[in-house]
């Protein structure tokens, strides 16, 4: 069974870390990740850019509505995610519009990825 582990934390707190504190946390996480990788259990790992860099596409209306900022409601639940390559935000929004046409209702939050490690898991 594959599991997704979704990381939540207070952005105020993480954003208050000094470079050294941030690096120290990342180093500790890397120890755990290395172990998982050695066991062949580690898939992609991504650190997302802050929520200030997020854009949200509401697809419960046609045409969908693009809003600045992260998904900020509680009435829907996280059900899946994509990682896609895009030359610009506009490219990726086009992609989400295609997806929205295929599956209306709910929302997509588009968030740039800061750091990405592909991992070595096979389907």
């Amino acid at each position: 069974m594959l599991y997704a582990i979704l990381c939540y934390h207070s952005e105020d707190v993480v954003g208050s870390w000094t470079k050294e504190e941030d690096a120290a946390v990342m180093a500790k996480l890397a120890v755990v990740q290395d172990k998982l990788a050695r066991e062949g259990r580690l898939g992609p790992v991504a650190r997302l850019l802050p929520t200030t860099a997020a854009t949200t596409l509401r697809k419960d209306q046609d045409p969908p509505l693009v809003l600045d900022g992260p998904y900020a409601e509680t009435k829907e639940q996280l059900l899946g995610f994509y990682l896609v390559e895009g030359g610009s935000l506009e490219d990726v929004l086009d992609t989400t519009r295609e997806l929205a046409a295929a599956n209306p209702g709910g929302a997509y939050e588009v968030r740039p990825v800061g750091a990405f490690f592909p991992g070595a898991l096979r389907p």
Binding site: V13, T52, L89
Partner: protein, 421 residues
């Protein structure tokens, strides 16, 4: 992090929101600060045993508020009867604190706190000091170090700024849309001032580089509160893109390294990525303001893998737009750099000629003039310009940089023919 490190981080992360909320209750900056201080002491006592509360910020507001109510009551008894208007909204506040608070709840509170720091009656250096002390929670010694003044001088500066603000009266009514936009603009300027204070610092000066980090933190905070403001996106992006170059801007001896000579491998990739993403978002609004345009200029530098890959014609165009919407001699001076790359030093020299008077006391004017004249082989005039620049340098690093150019001039044969005219 030490054992209580996590408490310090949580407290400092909660500070802008908590002080803002306490200021709304007590309408007095000193009481709000004292209340927060009290709450922090209690946190240091209680959190290590009990663990962190579910919402540290709400906890600090609640505990701080209770601590300060006693103080307010005592003071009121000494002076006059309790003012019901001051305390009347506390009941409501308590019940709303029971719910988890989201950022929108704090929006006008935090904006107000930031806004009173940029009161027009207080000088810009005082605005910055006040914001760093009250909003960011930097200590007086930390701020004094950043401004290169004594602690007592800084203490005095902050005290004076506070009493000015108190006298002027804090605006507590909920702002209307126009007023909110005005406050936002004033706060954005103040945040940029904080950034510039750090950015113009000499190398390796961590106390001042910290100001850049603080400015970015405040801008991100503001952007979370006002997520659809393209100029706040632009401001944040511009600061991220400029600060991303920090490690490359000075050499091992602390001397300035110009953009063209920087090791681009030292640029901070994550900050650049975030800056570019914010510009992408802001551009969708199709009404570029001064911050966004400056961010776009910084982005063109950030996107160039090598200096010769820089899209100077586009930078010239962006500066022309900036000149149009926000004309200033400094903008024209910056544009002249792009013009010198696109059309040559002679054209740039012609462009900056009218700036001699408005920028007669500006280091960078003479620095650029010297560089352009030296490119044209007009060595004596270049030397004069560089001499003026050194006289106007604000830091040793600036002066040392110009001296290096002077040395190069002296190594140049005197009869070098003028390059392309």
């Amino acid at each position: 992090m030490t054992d209580i490190g996590w408490i310090e981080t949580a407290v400092s992360a909660a500070r802008p929101k908590a002080i803002s909320a306490l200021l709304r209750y007590f309408r007095d900056l000193d009481i709000a600060e004292e209340a927060f201080q009290e709450a922090c002491l209690k946190a240091l006592n209680l959190w290590p045993q009990n663990g962190p509360p579910r919402d540290p910020c709400a906890w600090l507001i609640f505990v701080g508020r209770n601590a300060a109510i006693d103080v307010v009551r005592r003071r009121s008894r000494e002076a006059e009867l309790p003012e019901e208007s001051v305390l009347s909204d506390l009941g409501d506040a308590e019940s709303s604190l029971a719910d988890r608070l989201d950022d929108a709840h704090y929006r006008d509170d935090i904006l107000r706190l930031l806004f009173i720091c940029c009161h027009p009656d207080i000088a810009t250096t005082q605005q910055i000091a006040l914001a760093l002390r009250i909003v960011s929670g930097l200590t007086v010694p930390q701020i004094a170090r950043a401004f290169l003044v004594s602690e007592s001088a800084m203490e005095q500066r902050i005290t004076r700024a506070k009493s000015r603000v108190a006298k002027a009266g804090v605006p507590f009514e909920t702002p209307g849309p126009v007023e909110r936009a005005e406050r936002l603009a004033a706060v954005a300027t103040m945040i940029y001032l904080v950034f510039n204070e750090g950015y113009s610092a000499a190398s390796g000066d961590l106390a001042r580089a910290r100001l850049c980090d603080e400015a970015i933190r405040l801008a991100r905070l503001l952007l979370r509160l006002f997520p659809a403001e393209p100029e706040i996106m632009g401001l944040t992006a511009m600061m991220l893109l400029q600060h991303a170059r920090l490690a490359a801007r000075f050499d091992a001896d602390g001397a300035v390294v110009l953009l063209d000579d920087q090791d681009r491998g030292l640029w901070n990739g994550a900050m650049i990525a975030e800056g570019l993403a914010l510009i992408d978002k802001a551009m969708r609004h199709r009404r570029p303001g001064p911050y966004l345009i400056q961010a776009a200029i910084a982005a063109l530098h950030a996107r160039a893998a090598r200096p010769e890959d820089t899209d100077w014609p586009q930078i010239d165009l962006l500066y022309a737009t900036l000149e149009h919407i926000q004309p200033s001699p400094v903008v024209t001076l910056n544009r002249a750099v792009a013009v010198s790359k696109v059309a040559g030093p002679e054209a740039a020299l012609t462009m900056i000629a009218p700036l001699a008077e408005p920028l007669g006391g500006y280091f960078h004017y003479f620095g650029l003039r010297g560089a352009l004249l030296s490119q044209l082989g007009r060595v004596d005039e270049a030397r004069d310009a560089y001499d003026r620049a050194i006289a106007l340098a604000r830091t040793a690093a600036e002066a040392a940089h110009i001296r290096m150019h002077l040395d190069r001039l002296d190594a140049t044969p005197i009869n070098m023919p003028a390059s392309s005219g």
